[in-house]
Symmetry: C2
Subunit: 173 residues, 2 copies
């Protein structure tokens, strides 16, 4: 599947079938994440793949935006240095988010639906996953075979979000 087609065709999926995701497929998604760029090639991301039913139940309980049970979660965490400044904090979020998008696009290519969430109880998720003190959950990706085929949500037009050389100089197609 072409990259541009995947980017345009991918939808956030929130209803999943009961079909589990095979180990090979999960590993492919982890590989996709592993090849993301990261600031200074630090690779401070850590990926916890949650497939066991009791662990999935617990994660869902503390992620109020996730209604239907996915076949798996990948909780993307940052292995942080102590007392990171706001710039470094943003870098952790950026690196983990770029890896998340790799996972979501690679998943779409093999028929797996995903949705990314930032709304969850950080302390609870950290306890459920037994994260060390310096490791923080940054994003949760839900994964499963799609049980829905949603319409694309409305998008702002390019001339509403893009500018030429400076803000206010509207992008003209």
């Amino acid at each position: 599947m072409d990259v541009f087609d995947a980017i345009k065709g991918r939808r956030s999926i929130r209803q999943f079938t009961d079909e589990p995701i095979g180990k090979e497929e999960l590993e492919r998604l982890l590989e996709a994440a592993r090849w993301a760029p990261s600031g200074g090639n630090q690779q401070n991301w850590r990926f916890v793949v949650v497939t066991s039913p009791p662990q999935r139940e617990l994660i869902r309980k503390f992620a109020p935006g996730i209604f239907a049970m996915p076949a798996a979660f990948i909780v993307i965490c940052a292995d942080k240095e102590p007392d990171a400044n706001p710039w470094k904090e943003a870098l952790y979020v950026a690196d983990c988010s770029i890896a998340a998008q790799n996972i979501m696009l690679a998943a779409y290519e093999i028929g797996i639906g995903t949705c990314v969430a930032l709304s969850y109880a950080k302390v609870a998720v950290s306890e459920i996953l037994d994260l060390p003190e310096n490791v923080e959950p940054m994003l949760v990706v839900t994964l499963g075979y799609p049980a829905e085929d949603p319409e694309p949500p409305p998008r702002l037009e390019l001339n509403e979000i893009a500018f030429m050389d400076e803000y206010g100089k509207e992008w003209v197609s």
Copy 2:
């Protein structure tokens, strides 16, 4: 080009030829960004495409990590609400980063090299781009036709970064 191949094959490019990037190609990259998911479909991202020589000179001057002049920058900004809490701040970074990765993968597919940077003087870049008070530059993507073909930087192995169900339970391939 297949998604997975693009993810694995893409390298950060820091040396560019002098060849400009056509409007059509730039628009394709903006389209790729526009179709990224965003929290609550808020699409708070704004994209300033910088191609004019004086604007490029200025941006590079205030981005110390960018040595060679790219053919273009896309400065990805967040249109922020006032007094955003830390959670919302992270969401802005995440949304803009996911859009950045769409740009970088879509660029790779059409032969354009990119590199993403978070190191730049925010106030200076905001002034150069004439950003309104509520709009903040979050990431800078450099773009150009590659003048180098770098080796992949070393990556941690999956068993160093991935876990099964909880932290410490190493991913076994």
